[in-house]
Amino acid sequence: MDLTLSPSEEEFREEVRSWLQENHPGPEPEAGLDEVMAFRREWQLRLHAAGWAGISWPKEYGGRGATMIEQAIFAAEASRQEAPSPANVLGLAMGGPVVIAHGTDEQKARYLEPILTGEEIWCQGFSEPESGSDLASLKTRAVKDGDEWVVTGQKVWTTFAQYAKWCMLVARTDSDAPKHQGLTYFLMDMEQDGVQTRPLVQITGEGEFNEVFFEEARVPDANVVGGVGNGWAVAITTLMNERAGLAFGAISQIQNSLGRLSKLAQETPSNGGSVADDSYFRQRIAQLHIEVETMRLNAYRGLTKTMQSGIPGPEGSLGKWQWADINQDLTELALEIEGAYSMLARGADHAVSGGAWQYGFLRSRANSIEGGTTDILKNIIAERVLGLPRLR
């Protein structure tokens, strides 16, 4: 058992740390999403120029070929320093890895480079209004027409669809096959008349997600990834990639939030002292720190296991569940600390910390829904980790 980094890993961390310190572009603009995206595009170009875009990708495809530990270190450092996210986060985390794993040589040559530079933004067309957790029931149809496919249907929760050039689209190509077998994974060009995008306003008032409508949109046969009828297996790879890359960045992010929470407690007056002297709040803050530490250690255990076996196990579901719980608890606690001031919205004159915690509270409601609901994760854990019988 050894929780320390090797000298070369320490060196890598130093390299990441100092590069980020020197190149950090400062906080994201507070103006609209367009400005934020422009800012992130520029940031991604800088990352790419220094070889930090696609660090998990093999070198032959323009990545850095970093080890899993190095990926963890990079994610942790970037979050710790609150570096902005690159513009093409879905392309880097999912699109590229899927093309590398399942794509043809032509596809690799065509798509990978613009993902790395951020020149082409990617979005993910999986969920549908009637197919959320039960993804394999999706109804968007793709019908063969010569050497093209004609796509009709609707996707939802599509992050950055309004900026995307390519959509990782899973559509039904065989309605007679069992539901997991009739699906195909396409790369759909978003810049065509048959594709309409409409922002979906969420409880924070922002439009982070979209609805996407396909009306006889066209995809050439050459844009099928992994073969017709194999969409489910290909989609699963993307989801696994999503989870494996997230943990360490998420942990650093929560550690930062915990630091801010302690500061909030210390700066909030209460009973002649501060909230940080109040036993109830001290207990809850301590418990959050303990849970974050267990999450961090679980992630190391998971990483060790993955390095031994080569593939992330279903235990990753525990981390995603725990992350959602902790993030929600943390923001709920911040609102309790703020007391009456927690009524003020983001941007209000007297809002504490500009109302960041109120925003965080609202945004974190989605944490137990997005990327696999906590309820579904518990099913996965029960069935695949504990071996309990399936209800269905």
């Binding site: 058992m1 050894d2 929780l3 320390t4 980094l5 090797s6 890993e9 961390r13 530990i69 963890a72 270190i73 942790a76 360490f248 550690q255 915990l258 302690s262 407690a265 210390q266 940080a276 036993s279 001290r282 207990q283 803050i285 301590a286 418990q287 720190h289 303990i290 849970e291 530490e293 267990t294 999450m295 961090r296 250690l297 679980n298 190391y300 255990r301 990483l303 060790t304 296991k305 031994q308 235990e315 525990l318 569940w321 725990q322 309820d375 994760l377 518990k378 099913n379 854990i381 029960a382 069935e383 980790v385 504990l386 071996g387 309990l388 019988p389 399936r390 209800l391």
Partner: protein
């Protein structure tokens, strides 16, 4: 970075699991729990032969010289097996002797303790003081007087390590003049508690160590106990999963219902978190001692809760049968509940964590 057991540690785990499973079957645990002394002489001898009495004690004094990680491995299995044994109290007495005794004192008490020939136990909590860790009211002097309560396994111990207000430790032999040992009934019949009354007792020896020398001992004791609670949780989880697969109601195994399966998933989460916290702290004890106090408090706080909540949830999964004396689960709940209150409860340890984190310290960090 390798956060898992090594092959050697894995071997200790499987040896312990195998031995304890054959030695402590349900009927045997019940026999020991119902016996007058609660002490299993034969089991103790075998554990001593396996070298467990001195597992984490220095080799030069008859121990195995292994670390806190190995100790945690062993105690997780002790909890898993629900083993009734003075191994915990004896180990803590040994660690305290190793930390604070002179060579002569080590020769006299530590070596035989490590070899399983003598058994010691710490006598810490004063009847007239707060029942909190590292807070003692008994006055030090040529003689000792007062009442030490909640002393583990005192009935079959050979000597006590008595803590005094100055933080010192004194060896008092059980047979010394003025020592009265009386049994208290614990909620946990698998570990005995005693009151040790001292009336002008002249200690056999006073260790030269100071109070601070025993802080790492306390923290390692917390890790060992938290490991034991993790083992209790692991076993209760396994029993529940097994039962949920078997037990049929409404024409299906109850484990197919989400009310039951999600409860089991929650039990897994708490058990795994507890294990991670324990091994993180055990590793810190051996490799990064400056972060041990925080890591140990995190582990003990988490495992204090998980160690009884998971068995408690297991009783709910089992329904009526889980509430019977006939089923073993109540022993797990009781041991877990007693462990939760021992060596500082979750609230006490969370307060230590709050102290550190609000002062800006962070947990042991790698990436």
């Amino acid at each position: 970075m390798y956060f898992d057991l090594t092959d050697e540690q894995q071997a200790i785990k499987s040896t312990a699991k195998g031995f304890l499973a054959s030695r402590f079957k349900s009927e045997r645990i019940r026999e020991i729990a119902a016996s007058e002394s609660g002490f299993d002489e034969a089991g103790w001898k075998e554990m001593a032969e396996l070298g467990w009495a001195g597992l984490a004690l220095p080799e030069e004094w008859g121990g195995q010289g292994l670390g806190t990680v190995e100790l945690a491995v062993l105690f997780e299995e002790m909890g898993y097996a629900l083993a009734p044994s003075p191994l915990l109290s004896n180990t803590i007495a040994g660690l305290a002797l190793a930390a604070g005794a002179s060579d002569e004192q080590k020769e006299r008490w530590l070596r035989p303790l490590a070899e399983g020939e003598l058994r010691g136990t710490p006598a810490l909590i004063d009847a007239d003081g707060p029942a909190e860790p590292m807070s003692f009211s008994m006055g030090a002097g040529d003689t000792l007087s007062g009442e030490k309560t909640l002393v583990l396994d005192a009935g079959d111990a050979d000597f006590f390590l008595v803590a005094t207000a100055d933080g010192g430790r004194h060896v008092v032999e059980k047979g010394a003049d003025g020592v009265t040992v009386s049994a208290e009934e614990s909620i946990d019949p698998t570990r005995r508690l005693f009151t040790v009354r001292l009336d002008g007792v002249r200690p056999e020896a006073t260790l030269p160590g100071s109070g601070e020398d025993y802080h790492p001992v306390f923290h390692r004791a917390c890790v060992a106990l938290a490991a034991e609670s993790t083992g209790l949780a692991q076993r209760a989880l396994e029993m529940s999963v097994e039962y949920a697969k078997d037990r049929q109601q409404f024409g299906r195994p109850i484990g197919a219902y989400q009310a039951v399966s999600h409860r089991c998933a929650q039990m897994l989460l708490e058990t795994e978190n507890s294990r991670s916290a324990v091994f993180g702290a055990a590793w810190a004890a051996d490799a990064e001692p400056e972060s041990l106090p925080l890591a140990a408090s995190m582990a003990k706080a988490y495992a204090s809760d998980a160690g009884w909540r998971v068995p408690d949830a297991a009783i709910q999964v089992h329904g009526g049968i889980g509430f019977t004396w006939e089923h073993d689960l109540h022993f797990f709940l009781k041991r877990g509940r007693a462990n939760a209150a021992m060596f500082g409860d979750a609230k006490w340890h969370r307060e230590r964590v709050a102290d550190s984190v609000l002062a800006g310290e962070t947990a042991p960090a790698s990436a």
